[in-house]
């Protein structure tokens, strides 16, 4: 497998990257133990790399609001609908870890409706899926369904924005054939103690 390219576009050499981009990559490598391929693939364009990860961090890492597991559920559910190999595998791994549940990512990626979710989580994913697939039809009733499950206005924004950002991310990974690192497939699959 080691000879399969990580993307249709050749990634830059690490030594040639701008310092801030190289540091961001070093940081994720330290945290994960490997460099997720999307970092290498997008580093070919440093300005886009910076904007992409700034947007990602603003939505996925900010304190408060949705839990980190909830945010990853949104990513996995919408990436499954968009048939995005990279995002389902990589964010599926993160979801298993965040949710401390080795089964949840496969369930959510294949069919969120049949997943082991709370009614609150189902409402969140119904909204996210509509943003992914038919955003022009979103109306008051969709927001009301979130409020009924206790979501705030700002959490509604977060759900929509995460689904929108991965609409972009899925299309980039699909168009560029970005390949998920083999490591992701096994992460977080050990049964919970």
């Amino acid at each position: 497998m080691s000879n399969t390219p990580i993307s249709r576009f050749e990634p830059p050499r690490l030594a040639e990257l701008p310092k801030d981009v190289a540091e961001r990559i070093a940081k994720v490598q330290e945290k994960s133990g490997f460099v997720p391929n999307v970092f290498l693939a997008l580093a070919r364009r440093p300005d886009e790399f910076r904007a992409f990860f700034a947007y990602h961090d603003a939505l996925m890492e900010k304190p408060g609001g949705l839990t980190k597991a909830e945010r990853e559920m949104i990513v996995v559910a919408t990436s499954g609908l968009n048939h995005c190999h990279y995002c389902v595998v990589a964010h599926g791994a993160i979801l298993r870890i965040r949710a401390k549940n080795p089964l949840i990512a496969d369930q959510v990626a294949i069919n969120p409706r049949k997943a082991d979710l709370t009614p609150r989580e189902h409402a969140m994913l119904d909204f996210a899926v509509k943003v992914a697939e038919r955003s022009h039809e979103i109306d008051d009733a969709d927001y009301a369904a979130l409020w009924d499950r206790g979501f705030t206005d700002d959490e509604a924004w977060d759900i929509a924005a995460i689904a929108a950002m991965f609409a972009m991310s899925n299309r980039l990974a699909n168009a560029f054939s970005i390949r998920p690192n083999d490591e992701f497939h096994m992460m977080g699959r050990e049964p919970r103690p």
Copy 2:
């Protein structure tokens, strides 16, 4: 019309914005003569605002490669398919100005296939539309069709990335009901001299 809200989420007061966000808004106002509503709507979240416009500028304003008119064609064609009121109207105005063609935006938004385009432009939009609608099916043949029309690898990246970024942007504008400024509807419609 002046009483219609510009977004489902109340925009922040200008006086309360971080300095860099306020400056970016002042700059676009100076250039356009008004503040496009998407700036106000997204300023509610300064970090996301910064990342969004950094990504936008990296793709839409960088020198070289696709012409600015070509980039706007991609935006208008894919936003039409996504039924995004804001992006079709606002970027339709920019397209008319960039292309110096008062008819082109309506044509591209309604049906790119019947628009007054060159074969090169048709190839570009065929690829962009596939990224917007079926990115998981993109394969070698899609890239080869671009090369046949003289596009480089880096231009192929740009087409995909612009279509992907507006997949996000369309979903934000649709989910938040961001309303285009009235001014956009008339811009660039005067016949070419």
Copy 3:
């Protein structure tokens, strides 16, 4: 632009047209200041021309019932869904004039759900869109939704018949590549006094 053909099929010479067809064309020219291309394109077949415009006039010009602006809204909304360049541009112009609203046509063509419409107008367009897209699923509940907004049985007939007639008209204009006259793009765009 003046060299672009108005249709895939060469239009007849005016001098060769039957008298009643020529008179109908003269009449619309007098009223509009130019001959809308659909008249020239369809005049190639005088019998079909007569039937087409007789049907058009019976639905669009008859007194009473729906306002003329409402009828044009139906045309623009369904023609947008059918990606009909001719009908969106030409009837968009008429809608702006009839509704005395320079923004309404772009809104309705791109996404009727986000347009500045009354609940009555939304109900009308929901019904029209269902006739355009899934007429075999129309049932009692669809009619009841119209009655709830004060529409009569005969107005329900009109909504369905207008949507149906433009299902035909959109397909003719698309299959024949009928091009809207440049003049339509600018008509009715001046702000209301």
Copy 4:
């Protein structure tokens, strides 16, 4: 069955119809042995009735060009896709008679691709189906495919126009729930001698 209404809208009493409408109905009754329900249903609106049948006759009854069986094939194939109960049953009967083939209507209505058709007939129906379903994508290649099978420009117009007219007709019959006369189900089913 005799108590089932022929349409959601009550048909007019024959005695109250304008003379020309009544005569058209008498003529079809004489020819068919019964009054097809679409005549009664549409007679509620004499002007629309006249235009509808003028259009119908201009396309379906004119001499030369496509055979009458070919024209009915177009109607049955596109009406099947539109799930139009009236048109499939009524025009299926006419197709069986015109084509002197008791099996052809069921084949064409269910799946034209598997019907006992010549390559020329398949090319004709491929074009008609594209007009019915995706007319905005029709391009030079679609016309070239017809020419390859010996169709003239005027026959291409006829195929498109018949498919377009029944796009309208199917939507009227569906929206109004027009019921086919029981007689149609059995017509033309006797094996060919």
Copy 5:
């Protein structure tokens, strides 16, 4: 017509069939007066033949529960949606006979929503159609709609299982181009006494 092959795959010679397969075929021939082509087509693979008809008989012939006419309605409605020529024609004939109604099969195949059905039958077909088209979205509400019309749990199973079995059967008949026997087209069309 007699020279048209009954399937893309050549059927086996009857003399070469295993005894139990030959007996099953003899039995259906005795009952129907002819051998339905699906028996010959599938006999090419005796093990699959045995399993297929065992499954068929378990669902379609077992005593109790849904009436035989109800079961055939499910087959005809879902086979119509799947454009399966064989199943619509063959099971349409059986439905006409079982329901003692010469019109019902055409109605159900073209558009179940407009067919002469009871509310109970409509509920049954709504469920079956959802199994055929969007089974991953089936939820408690779909079962509740059946219970409201008096269906038992076991009858709900039967509806789902019949729709599922013909999802298979339609795909086999379509992929193998299995042709319905001419005899089916006329069966059960005589008016009820």
Copy 6:
């Protein structure tokens, strides 16, 4: 997790099962180390159970022709498109084991086009996917594409039949909410030595 029901329909008690059904279940338990839930769920109906597994074994276990890994690829690819939680998880495990490849099941389930497959395997899955999604459009060209990759007529039958059988199986598992055993998620994920 142990309290989550394995199906919407209560499974029978093992002690009450017919002897042959109980033996089949004992056999799979011995082989796998646990009883896959589909066996328990379908055992509620012994006749359907027998036919279902007879069909399954005839297609999936017979000697010769497609390799067992190839057969499982067909199951996983089409079950992914049908959003069948049970079949993707259970057959994904079997595919990993048969193909001795811990990554292949996730790849094929999410997007067969981007999976690490040979051209022969891609041709096989293209055909299978068309059977699953648009079997009525299958024609000579689809068979020719298989022959070009060295498949025999009988292997073409197998591909179609497996895709068809899982069209049924996916709908049963979805409609009945059959839950995959937790064990499947981890099976075959250990890297190849």
